[in-house]
């Protein structure tokens, strides 16, 4: 292989080609040849570098990383001479250093270890060579070249990798069961139906590092003996779907998917299937029904998918993040992997931090990190100097934990014991201005809407739970509601078929356990301590603070605020729908809630 001292990447985005990228490239090659640099400088195409509309055609020169923009055939010559002969950058054509602030993924904080997220933002997800350059597909080559399927399964068992979708089932064991199933053909499915509100870890991985998931799936397919795979991605993630499809095409071109992968004789291909907006399809049996083209209704397990899954054949289903772990474990070794994490949960976990924190976004920490470290050290604590009230983990089937649980190390067992769940990794932090009864009501609205309707306890039970909670929030709760809620929760958990029904009452149970005082205030005193529940509050404008700027009156959706310019404004409580917009827009803290 020729050795080049520099590489020039030329953006081949359609918009760049429109603006003459091909001529620029030709000119570049000619200029380099004229200076006898063809042996030293390599010219390659890349799908896109900067913003094609404003910066294209553009090139990126490595190893310096210089980004030259808005090129024409006339500017290529001077850049080549300055950069490659004189060794200095030609400032006038260079892109301004941009503040790259990906709000979803910031620079890692001290307590973070990035394994799953490490490549995101650093490689071009639409260029397989970027992934290969960071040791991508090395693990697959090792597996196909040196390991038997049994050895792969044993390695994953020894790594103690557990399902990142939320249940925490040992991945190696799942693979073993699927391998042992006598029936054929076998299928490999990736659950990318990340439906928990507040969770977007999987989307980021699919959009930023799709090959890590494809490689993990292919290794798994080799281990269980599957030749066809499906990624089931929710329809809310159109960019993830298109990135995945590009990645799959490129992997096929490179012989990393399809027939006879890397000359090993092993065949495996992957297809992306889209959901259509049903939360329950994240449940594995519902997901399989949906791939089969039916309503996404869960069915009774056993038989588990490992013996009877897609089209009645043995099927292995893992979550996006689980698959993304696999190549890293194989490539870097067990010793490295098992050095991270807690006793029973090895490795790292990504979380989507959201809510009332200073820094929200994606994080990745080893198992065993405490909630307090995540919230305060990584999340920067509660914003606007307010007090912490609760952290909600695990999505709508999870629970809310108060202050006293913050020193718990995060793993599957401890969160479960505390009355919440690990879930897929949504973590929503709420400050003192959040009403916990309202939050329970919010989650119940979600689950009753998303219940597939197959089991009566879930379909009707969640509806009744919601009605009771709505009643309490409206100030019409009665003391009997509390035991009624408890009984209903127990019955729904006991009698529902799938995880959705069994988990649906969790937000109610956990808020009743930790925040009973708020339920009691709503029921006995008809008061919402957090001043959220609309029926139990009124808004008022303080004459002392009001400057008569009219901002509130102009923003009120129901025109309930009256007052002349520079005069104190007044809210008509009869008309007021208590939406709180006036309080939000007031610059003088003149609007208060009673």
């Amino acid at each position: 292989m020729a050795y080049y001292r520099s590489t020039v990447l030329v953006s081949m985005d359609p918009a760049c080609i429109d603006k003459g990228a091909l001529a620029v490239k030709e000119q570049l090659i000619n200029e380099l040849a004229n200076l006898n640099l063809s042996e030293e400088v390599q010219v390659m195409d890349i799908p896109r570098i900067g913003d094609p509309e404003t910066e294209g055609p553009d090139i990126l020169v490595y190893p310096e990383g210089s980004h030259y923009i808005q090129l024409t055939t006339a500017t290529v010559g001077p850049i080549v001479i300055e950069h490659f002969i004189k060794g200095r950058e030609l400032q006038q054509y260079k892109a301004q250093m941009r503040d790259v602030t990906d709000e979803e993924l910031r620079e890692p904080k001290d307590k973070e270890i990035r394994v799953i997220l490490e490549n995101i933002g650093k490689i071009d997800p639409r260029n397989i060579e970027d992934y290969i350059a960071v040791d991508g597909y090395q693990a697959l080559a090792k597996v196909l070249g040196e390991m038997s399927p049994e050895e792969v399964i044993q390695t994953i068992l020894d790594s103690k990798l557990r399902g990142r979708g939320g249940a925490g089932f040992p991945t190696g064991l799942k693979w073993k069961f699927a391998r042992q199933s006598p029936d054929t053909p076998k299928y490999m499915v990736c659950n990318a139906d990340e439906g928990d509100p507040g969770a977007f870890m999987n989307r980021k991985v699919l959009e930023g590092d799709p090959h890590s998931v494809l490689e993990g799936m292919t290794i798994g397919a080799y281990a269980v003996g599957a030749n066809q795979g499906y990624v089931y991605c929710r329809a809310e993630y159109p960019i993830a779907v298109s990135t995945l499809n590009t990645a799959i095409e490129q992997a096929r071109e490179y012989g990393l998917l399809g027939k006879d992968i890397l000359g090993s004789g092993f065949d495996f291909d992957i297809e992306v299937r889209m959901g259509a907006g049903a939360f329950v399809c994240g449940e594995e049996t519902a997901l399989l029904a949906s791939i089969e083209g039916a309503r996404g209704e869960p069915r009774v397990r056993p038989p588990f998918p490992a013996s009877k899954g897609l089209w009645g054949k043995p099927t292995n289903i893992n979550n996006v993040e689980t698959y993304a772990n696999v190549p890293k474990i194989i490539h870097r070794g067990l010793e490295w992997y098992t050095s991270m994490g807690s006793e029973k949960s090895k490795g790292t976990k990504t979380f989507a931090l959201a809510g009332d924190l200073v820094h929200t976004g994606l994080i990745e920490v080893p198992f065993g990190t405490t909630l307090r470290e995540i919230i305060n050290d990584i999340g920067g604590g509660i914003k606007d100097g307010k007090a912490f009230k609760a952290v909600q983990t695990g999505g709508p089937m999870g629970g809310c934990l108060p202050e006293e649980f913050l020193d718990l190390p995060v793993d599957y067992e401890t969160l479960g014991a505390a009355g919440s769940i690990m879930g897929s990794g949504g973590m929503i932090v709420m400050d003192e201005e959040t009403c916990m009864v309202d939050i329970a009501r919010f989650f119940m609205e979600f689950t009753q809407d998303e219940s597939c309707g197959k089991c009566v306890p879930c379909r009707v039970g969640t509806r009744r739970l919601l009605e009771i909670l709505e009643r309490i929030c409206a100030g019409k709760g009665v003391p009997e509601d509390i035991p009624l809620l408890r009984q209903l929760c127990d019955e729904i958990i006991q009698d529902s078929l799938c995880g959705l029904g069994q988990g649906a009452p969790n937000p109610v149970i956990s808020t009743m356990k930790h925040f009973m005082d708020e339920y009691e205030a709503h029921i006995y005193e008809k008061r919402c301590p957090a001043k959220v529940c609309r029926s139990l509050i009124t808004f008022e404008i303080l004459a002392d603070n009001c400057t008569g700027c009219t901002v509130c009156a102009r923003n009120c959706p129901v025109n309930a605020i009256s007052g002349e310019r520079k005069q104190t404004h007044v809210i008509d409580t009869e008309l007021c729908i208590r939406c709180g917009i006036c309080k939000q827009v007031c610059n003088f803290d003149a609007v208060v809630i009673n």
Binding site: E103, G198, E236, A276, A294, G355, L362, P396, F443
Partner: protein, 170 residues
């Protein structure tokens, strides 16, 4: 999304009929084809009427009841035409905590329609949706395919006037 006269079923419109036929022949012969066909029909036609459901059922050789069952199960499938632009409010947890309901109030006030309805001129449909996975930018409003993050009620008017302006410019 292609606009269609409201009173005419897409099957009666030769152009749409062709789109439907092409979609069915393109995706109809794979395993689990029904979902794939319906997803593409929803995208290309914009909605899936009852006659279209019956047509798909006949072409794919599955009962109409199954097609209708699938269409009514998934929230992405709609049976009626939507506005030219769809404004969706994310009401995932982070957006809810971040004030999504105030945004919806504001939208109802400005457009005088409820979520699920379309403005009389057929320009804008309001919808609410579950988490779009952009929680760090809560509250999020999705206009067609583009996410707008950290939208305050006072800024929401601009989102709508931008749509109206882009229409006027066409």
């Amino acid at each position: 999304m292609t606009s269609t006269p409201m009173q005419l079923d897409p099957l009666e419109n030769p152009k749409m009929r062709e789109v439907i036929d092409n979609t069915i022949s393109e995706f109809g012969d794979q395993n689990g084809a029904l979902m794939v066909v319906l997803n593409h029909l929803q995208e290309r036609v914009g909605f899936i009427t009852k006659p279209m459901q019956a047509y798909v059922a006949e072409k794919l050789g599955v009962p109409v009841s199954k097609v209708h069952g699938v269409v009514s199960f998934y929230s992405f499938f709609t049976t009626e035409p939507r506005g030219k632009h769809v404004v969706k409010f994310c009401i995932g947890t982070a957006c809810y905590v971040g004030g999504a309901s105030q945004l919806i109030d504001k939208a109802k006030q400005v457009l005088a329609i409820e979520p699920g309805q379309t403005t009389p001129d057929g320009l804008i449909t309001l919808e609410v949706c579950r988490c779009v996975g952009a929680c760090s930018q809560a509250p999020v409003v999705v206009v067609d395919e583009a996410n707008h993050g950290r939208v305050k009620p006072s800024q929401f008017g601009k989102v709508l006037t931008d749509i109206q302006k882009s229409e006027a410019a066409v």
